[in-house]
């Protein structure tokens, strides 16, 4: 478990953010900054690949709720894929799944989001 890393790519009109490491406050802020920068440019579809993030905390996840709120203004979308069971459980307990979607993998997320 070490520092939180992200790699970003754009696929059609979707920004895919792949994370690596513990999603805590610092990790959450990193994701939020990336989304902000893209939203300024008018992008409003984000897919976060959490395959390499098996540990999260509620502060990091709360920041995702902030992103969801911001996206509501432009009818944007936040989605996730490749969640570890405990991360999926956490998202469910917190109710994120009412406002954002979990996909099995990047392919499934992309084909649905960019449709």
């Amino acid at each position: 478990m070490s520092d939180f890393q992200v790699s970003v790519k754009e696929v059609d009109d979707v920004v895919v953010i792949a994370t690596d490491g513990y999603l805590n406050n610092i990790g959450g802020e990193k994701i939020s900054d990336i989304c902000d920068k893209h939203m300024e440019k008018g992008v409003n579809k984000f897919l976060i690949n959490l395959e390499k993030t098996s540990v999260v905390n509620s502060i990091g996840v709360s920041i995702l709720i902030e992103i969801i709120e911001k996206l509501q203004d432009t009818k944007g979308k936040l989605a996730y894929c490749k969640l570890a069971p405990i991360v999926e459980k956490t998202f469910n307990i917190m109710g994120l799944t009412k406002y954002s979607t979990i996909y099995k993998d990047e392919e499934a997320g992309l084909s649905d989001l960019s449709a």
Binding site: N24, S58, I65, E66, E69, I86, T90, M94, G95
Partner: protein
Amino acid sequence: MGTSPKVELSIPIIPDMELAATQTSEVVARHMGLGQDKSDEIKMALIEACINAFEHSKTEEGQVEINFTIEDNTLVIKVTDQGVGFDENTVKIPKIEQKIKSDHKRGWGLQLIKELMDTVEFESTDEGTTVTMTKKK
């Protein structure tokens, strides 16, 4: 090793120090034969209990104690700080519908702990807080 092995951890408030606790719970859970799902639930609850003590206790001592005991088929975890304490009954149950619109997005830790563990108890005075949580095999 007795019948009730004990692991005691005293950690300072350092960023990510809660991960020392989760690694410990993982080893203990494996030793007890708990499955990966239960072990992961314990880790998540432990992270939340630790960061609460880190953030909210305002402990001057600067240390948080974590104790693990295995009692029969149950893992008992206590997280103790010597901080200001709080009244659990004044903490609102978070709802995503409200959080989405609110400036205060946080407030999920206690809820997560309760959902993820089998039992959770808070003892809190103005001399500190102990969260006791258990998970059955």
